[in-house]
């Protein structure tokens, strides 16, 4: 096994924290993106748009 310490922050790691973590504040103009469900939907949409160009590596395992 190898332990890798990445110097550059990967976008997914950032999104794990910025979309699912951090203080959620509602009120004023605060937007509903805080909703985890909505974020999931957004990410799924993003993932499927990525998949159109790059075949998913697990396709042949299913």
């Amino acid at each position: 096994m190898t332990v890798v310490e990445r110097r550059e922050v990967a976008l997914v790691d950032l999104l794990d924290r910025l979309l699912a973590g951090g203080v959620v504040i509602t009120g004023d103009l605060t937007l509903r993106i805080a909703d985890v469900d909505l974020v999931r939907i957004d990410l799924n949409a993003l993932i499927s748009s990525v998949n159109e160009n790059v075949p998913a590596p697990w396709d042949d395992l299913l």
């Binding site: 096994m1 190898t2 332990v3 890798v4 310490e5 990445r6 922050v9 990967a10 976008l11 997914v12 790691d13 950032l14 999104l15 794990d16 924290r17 910025l18 979309l19 699912a20 973590g21 951090g22 203080v23 959620v24 504040i25 009120g27 004023d28 103009l29 605060t30 937007l31 509903r32 993106i33 805080a34 957004d42 990410l43 949409a45 993003l46 993932i47 748009s49 990525v50 998949n51 790059v54 998913a56 590596p57 697990w58 395992l61």
Partner: protein, 258 residues
């Protein structure tokens, strides 16, 4: 003044100024908005991009989302150098300064309590991946019919498939056990832990399958020991890969229920 207010974090007042060249979301330098014994770190952002509707549309644009997330993180990183920030979720937007002040006033007690809890702590991310499976051997396909005949080849093929599946399941079980043990021992060093959903390989582009995606709240003073502990796991499980990220501001531990 026109524009909306993007709030990155809430902190206790800190003496050190932020770097003059620091920019955040929309390329705008963040400013401090002091309210009693709290400071909100705030940037002016254009309504055309950050009002509810345009923002919703932007969030489906991976490039925009990525650039905004990195700009947000840029500010949080700078804050982490001078204080222990309480990071807000991406795209927390208010109409004006007075909206931000009202919010701070309303949540003052909670903010102070959480800032005390997180003071001097950082978050470390640890992920475990199984290394990618080797390609299945192509000779299990019809090529061997000549020697054993159709029926035999079919039976061989099925047996081979069964064996492959069993091996796969065993590997998977070992990997899960390893991840569970690692998580238990790391939890011993952490004040708090969070398990995130496994990452999607299409988005992370990381090889292999993500088995554990966890966050650990660790005092700064204990961080070195924590990192060493992660590093020591490297010989424990062949076929697995451990990734360490951080130190992060305590994004995963900023909720009241934490």
């Amino acid at each position: 003044m026109s524009g909306l207010r993007y709030v990155y974090a809430v902190c206790r007042p800190f003496g050190t100024p932020l770097p003059a060249q620091l920019t955040g979301v929309a390329g705008v330098p963040p400013k401090q908005l002091v309210h009693h014994d709290l400071v909100a770190v705030v940037g002016h952002v254009p309504e055309g991009d950050f009002a509810e509707e345009p923002l919703r549309a932007h969030l489906e644009d991976l490039d925009w989302l990525g650039a905004t997330a990195r700009a947000h993180q840029n500010v949080i990183d700078a804050l982490t150098v001078v204080t222990t920030p309480l990071p807000l979720r991406l795209a927390t937007v208010f109409r004006d300064d007075s909206g931000v002040r009202t919010m701070m006033q309303e949540r003052k007690e909670t903010f102070l309590r959480t800032l005390d809890r997180l003071d001097g702590r950082v978050e470390w991310g640890v992920k475990v991946y199984s290394e990618p499976e080797p390609e299945p051997e192509p000779e299990s396909e019809p090529g061997r019919t000549g020697r054993t005949g159709r029926t035999g080849s079919g039976r061989d093929y099925l047996r081979q498939r069964r064996n492959q599946r069993r091996e796969h399941e065993e590997k998977w079980e070992q990997a899960e056990q390893f991840a569970r043990r690692l998580h238990e021992s790391l939890s011993g060093y952490a004040e708090d832990t969070r398990i995130h959903a496994p990452q999607n390989a299409a988005l992370s582009r990381a090889p292999g399958r993500n088995i554990l995606n966890a966050a650990y709240l660790v005092p700064r003073t204990e961080s070195e020991a924590f990192v060493e502990l992660v590093d020591r796991t490297k010989d424990d499980a062949p076929g697995l890969r451990v990734e360490l990220t951080g130190p992060w501001a305590a994004y995963s531990f900023s909720g009241e229920d934490a």
